[in-house]
Amino acid sequence: MRRGRVWFTPIAAIAVFALTLAHAASTIKLGVAGPLTGDQGAFGQELKNGAIIAVEEWNAKGGVLGKKLEIVLGDDQHDPKQAVAVANKFVNEGIVGVIGHFNSSCSIPASTIYHEGKVVQITPASTNPQFTERGFWNLFRTIGRDDQQGVVAADFIVKKLKKSKVAVLHDKTTYGQGLADETVKALKKAKVKPVYYGGITQGEKDHRPVLTAVRQKNPEVLFYGGIHPEAILLTKQMRELGMKAAFVSGDGVWQKEFIDIAGKAAEGAFITFTPDQTKIKEAQGVLKKHKEKFGSDVGAYTVYSYVATNMLLDAIAATKSTDGPKLAEHIRKTKWNTALGPIQFDKKGDVLVSPFVVWEVKNGKFVQVK
């Protein structure tokens, strides 16, 4: 129909207008990067929301160094090439520090650019060990590493659950397979060899065929490395197939949706995640504000992003500088008391103490296992 062809021009016009309003001079700019659109848009927006809350808190206190703070968003659509473009754009615009990216496959190539541009990068979500293994001074992560998490999961399966027939599935992503591989490594150290090891495709909905094959091996535990949409489908479909194995997974599954949508199937699942945020004094503010501002509970990575943003801003305030190396030094040597609990970084920029504990789904809620 000819008459409708240009119907979104006005939308664009409105957006331009809004943009000109939002733009203000003399601010300190922070970059937040991740997949803001596309199939992983939900995760990118968790990073965004966490950073927004932190920045609003600081702005309410008058900003830092007498300047207001501004967030610049960089959408990488979990495409490494776009991540590099975003990194170059950030460096070019004089971004003081970057919160992001989400995917390890984006954080790693982008970090090279930030390193060259002398910009501090704190990722709230990339757990692949390789990210910090290259010895760049400007990289930090508020989240643990896959190997730290894998050890906790394997330990729990072997010592607490006392199970030895473990099937391992992952979603063929850097995160999912990385976590699964580290868990398998730790299991093998405890002399437990997985009875099944295989990958599924992220985004697909039907995992019954592979689960049927897993069922054949009669595992007592199914460990899954991946994120919550597949975990929801896996738990539902394994129960439908009559499998009784315990479901164990990592922080990518610690999402409200996992319980809400999987329902009964999620009961009794074990998830490795950081300690209870609601019991941490420093976290109360962000949890409440998120509910007020976005109308929902925080996602798994929101608080990581909130903490990362706060560290960066605190470093700016403490060093009275926006110089990358100075900020990095401050972040590295400080003993942080954060909404995630106490955090200290090692030389590489990883969290010193493995933050992971095990949670269980009980009566429709995540409960920390003692």
Partner: protein, 300 residues
């Protein structure tokens, strides 16, 4: 395990077939690979959730969940049908005389647009689909077949039969076949080609709406991105069976589902798509127009 894998494969295949039917129908008329079809299916699933939400907020409780399901289906069909004809008007009709690739790109634009529109309007997070289907299912040779699996298989067969009847036994079906053969001739003999194509999009999109509800209910989880993989799989299924051919879409869907289930179950779940495509290539080498497609002899 074999029986269970066959059940898995047939259900998965029926799901593919449900989406492939609309795909193949649109293709049959205007030879357009409608990339946006997967998105229509996604819209159908969302419409289902929205309708259900409306019903519960208005406290319209029903004696059986079947009534709620029926209303959801009708709403999804209406909505998807309306979207389908609007998209055709907006993005495909102006390109009818252009090269074959122009509407393909335009369809892709529509697909990206719809995905992002739904992401912005409904949020990027996954949504749970209401569980409306009671019934426990039956045990079969030590394997389980659930009620909803049977329901999905039945629906896809039913839909295929209905479509086949529509195309071969009704007046509009006759007009569709004429339009598919030769659009110009059809308009010369008094067929309102625009209207026939609109009707095709209406029906094809309504079918996608039904598929959205069924699949949403089966998996219990939807998000704005479900149309992407579904679209590729449906396209593959439609081509495997002979694109443009309605029983072909059904056959292609079932076959694809079976190949994936058996491949994942017996060989490797990582490489199952590789097997699926390898078999597709093999089939096409021996039958270049798909399993049931007519062998289009070279036009001279």
């Amino acid at each position: 395990m074999l029986v269970q894998q066959l059940i898995n494969g047939l259900t998965l295949g029926s799901v593919y077939a449900l989406i492939a039917l609309g795909y193949t129908m649109v293709y049959g008329i205007i030879e357009l690979i409608n990339f946006a079809h997967g998105e229509i299916y996604m819209l159908g699933a969302y419409m289902g959730i929205i309708t259900f939400g409306l019903l519960t907020t208005l406290h319209l409780t029903f004696p059986t969940s079947g009534a709620a399901l029926l209303i959801m289906m009708v709403m999804a069909m209406l909505f998807c049908g309306a979207c389908g004809i609007t998209i055709e008007r907006l993005a495909y009709r102006p390109l009818r005389g252009a090269s074959r690739l122009a509407p393909l790109i335009s369809a892709l634009g529509v697909s990206i647009f719809l995905q992002n529109f739904v992401m912005l309007a409904q949020g990027p997070r996954d949504k749970g689909f209401p569980h409306l289907f009671a019934g426990e299912g039956i045990d079969l040779f030590g394997s389980r077949i659930s009620a909803i699996q049977m329901f999905i298989m039945a629906t896809s067969v039913l839909m295929m039969a209905a479509l086949q009847l529509l195309v071969h036994r009704t007046k509009i079906g006759k007009a569709m076949r004429a339009t598919a053969q030769d659009m110009q001739m059809a308009s010369l003999v008094g067929i309102d080609v625009d209207r026939v194509i609109s009707a095709t999009f209406l029906i094809g999109s309504a079918l996608a709406g039904v598929a959205g509800i069924m699949v949403g209910m089966y998996y219990g989880l939807i998000n704005f991105f479900i149309g992407y993989i579904a679209g590729i799989k449906a396209f593959t299924a439609a081509v495997l069976g002979g694109i443009g051919n309605i029983p072909g879409a059904m056959l292609g869907g079932l076959l694809l589902g079976l190949i994936e289930a058996l491949g994942a179950g017996y060989i490797s779940s990582e490489y199952k798509d590789v097997f699926a495509f390898a078999i597709l290539v093999l089939v096409l080498i021996f039958r270049p127009s798909g399993l049931l497609g007519k062998d289009i002899s070279r036009r001279v």
